[in-house]
């Protein structure tokens, strides 16, 4: 048997597994919204650029639903939250 087949097979197979994560064997659970401020004890995932953007737009990160990998809050999420807040304010009481 041409042994090299195995090599060809091995790498793409791994790559594939990478692209499509193995079927979850337990219910995947979304991490709770990252804590603000990046305190050491805080779990979750905040990035400085998102934090800055949030503070510029007065967005409370704990109220933002992250759409990035594993629930990471993306810039887009912050901008959308800011838009919603603006719209809500503009809307008649």
């Amino acid at each position: 048997e041409p042994a090299a087949e195995a090599e060809i097979a091995a790498q793409p197979a791994q790559a594939e597994q990478r692209a499509t994560p193995p079927a979850p064997t337990a219910t995947p659970q979304r991490p709770s919204a990252p804590a603000q401020g990046g305190g050491e004890e805080a779990a979750g995932y905040v990035t400085p650029l998102v934090r800055k953007l949030a503070s510029e737009h007065g967005v409370d990160l704990s109220s933002v639903n992250g759409t990035g990998v594993g629930g990471r809050i993306r810039k887009q999420d912050v901008l959308e939250a800011a838009e919603r807040a603006k719209a809500a304010k503009a809307a008649p009481a």
Binding site: P2, E7, P22, P31, G71, R72, K75
Partner: protein, 463 residues
């Protein structure tokens, strides 16, 4: 939290490599009690047979090359030769020092019980070592990987060897064939060429380091051609025969290559056979342990980390996963790891470094019309000119969006991946990096220049 007085631990970890020991150290910090089972040496593959010894060889290789080419820089020197015994004692010295440091860290953690011996999962929460049972409220599988071979290709440790043997070679061979043009293969090819070996790489896939961006492969191939490292890509291996003084390899189409030895570097297989995983109900696929994104296996409270989990086989992925699992068990609810955000370095000469998506992957994910790239040639980078290295920094971005891939080729670019890692993981836009003008003259300046150009304001570059 609890003490192992009833031989029950918060966590029993099977394997003391990058993934296992990182989990143990982080768990201990979080006041969890740990049994860390290791049959070989604490530190595992990376420290003893992987990352560290190979990078020591690569540095000795760099020194050999610089000495050989020193006249270009005005330094008159003569390369007398490679003293392999001395190279090995340098390499072993580095490993020994780091090993001692690691032993100090693990030994100094009061709530880690180090268990020397081969362990087996004999219950869903029990690891047995030499007849003694260690029960854990949680178990972490971290048994690592081994150098694979191909069917019918027998490793004899003399003429047909793996990286394990290559790392303890007591001589510089006259010639070598490297089977496999992945990271490990090109690193050894690079070392050997610098040591004066006539090297040929054989790779079944159409390019070297095929997991990298296509432009990176092309640049590496160009550099290797210049270094007179032979390679044959796109042609699978067919067979190897012993000759009087070495080996003869036949590849598809009938072409043969002869050399003193053959290094088999066709990948690493998960070290999971006969360890009781399947018997205890852990779901597996071709020997790999399947987990969800929180590294849980199919058995409750049993986690897996490192090379046995499908994905990138890298030491720092093991560290990150080990830390993740410890924090998860401690109830800290850590953020899921983005596999694409893990930096990748190939330490050959030239080095390759990347993080995020290749151009091809980004186009697949976002659509070809939504992806923009910029390639900054190191020809415009002063420090790279000083080092006389060639290469580039290539950025992949989403239109009106962040940088989603960074790909670099050139001497020493591995060190630039730390910055690239922040850019990718923090989803920076080119303009956010561009406003920070980098130190002159550095190589990291090339990363800055690439962002300046992609932000529409090139400095030392044409638009």
């Amino acid at each position: 939290m609890s003490e192992p007085n009833d031989a029950t631990f918060d966590i029993v970890i099977l394997g003391g490599g990058s993934g296992g020991y990182a989990a143990a150290l982080r768990a201990a910090q979080l006041n969890l009690s740990v049994a860390l089972v290791e049959k070989g040496k604490l530190g595992g593959t990376c420290l003893h047979n992987g990352c560290i010894p190979t990078k020591a060889l690569l540095h000795a290789a760099e020194i050999a090359d610089q000495t050989r080419e020193s006249e270009q820089f005005g330094v008159k020197a003569e390369l007398v030769g490679i003293d392999m015994a001395a190279v090995n004692s340098y390499k072993d010295g580095v490993v020994a020092r780091l090993y001692k440091g690691l032993q100090g860290l693990v030994g100094g953690a009061k709530n880690i019980t180090f268990v020397a011996g081969a362990g087996k999962l004999v219950g869903k929460n029990v690891v047995e070592v030499d007849g003694k049972r260690y029960t854990g409220r949680n178990v972490v599988l971290a048994s690592g990987s081994y150098a694979k071979s191909l069917p019918g290709l027998e490793i004899d440790g003399e003429r047909v060897i793996t990286s394990d043997h290559a790392l303890t070679l007591d001589r510089v061979p006259a010639s070598a064939i490297v089977l496999g043009g992945g990271v490990i293969g090109v690193e050894f090819a690079s070392v050997w060429k610098s040591f004066g070996v006539d090297v040929t790489i054989i790779e079944a896939l159409p390019r070297l380091v095929a997991a990298e961006d296509e432009e990176s492969s092309k640049a590496l191939e160009r550099a290797f051609r210049k270094r007179k490292i032979n390679f044959k890509v796109g042609k699978p291996f067919e067979k190897v025969e012993k000759t009087e003084n070495g080996v003869k390899v036949t590849i598809a189409g009938g072409e043969t290559v002869e050399a003193e030895l053959l290094l088999v570097a066709v990948g690493r297989g998960p070290n999971t056979a006969n360890l009781g995983y399947e018997e205890q109900g852990v779901k597996m696929d071709r020997g790999y342990v399947l987990t969800d994104e929180r590294l849980r296996t199919s058995v409750p409270n049993v986690y897996a980390v490192g090379d046995i989990v499908p994905g990138l086989q890298l030491a720092h992925r093991g560290f990150q996963q080990g830390i993740f699992v410890a924090e998860e068990i401690a109830g800290q609810n850590p953020a899921v790891i983005d596999e694409a955000g893990i930096p990748r370095v190939t330490y050959s000469d030239p080095e390759l470094a990347s993080v995020g998506l290749t151009e091809a992957k980004a186009k697949e994910q976002y659509g070809a019309d939504k992806v923009k790239t910029y390639n900054y040639n190191l020809g415009g980078n002063g420090k790279s000119q000083i080092l006389k290295t060639a290469g580039f920094v290539k950025l992949v971005r989403v239109e009106d969006g962040p940088v989603v891939g960074v790909h670099m080729v050139g001497a020493r670019v591995g060190e630039l991946v730390g910055e690239a890692q922040l850019i990718y993981n923090w989803e920076a836009y080119p303009a956010e990096v561009a406003q920070l003008v980098h130190a002159h003259p550095t190589q990291n300046e090339a990363l800055g220049e690439a962002h300046l150009a992609l932000a529409g304001k090139p400095l030392h570059a044409h638009a």
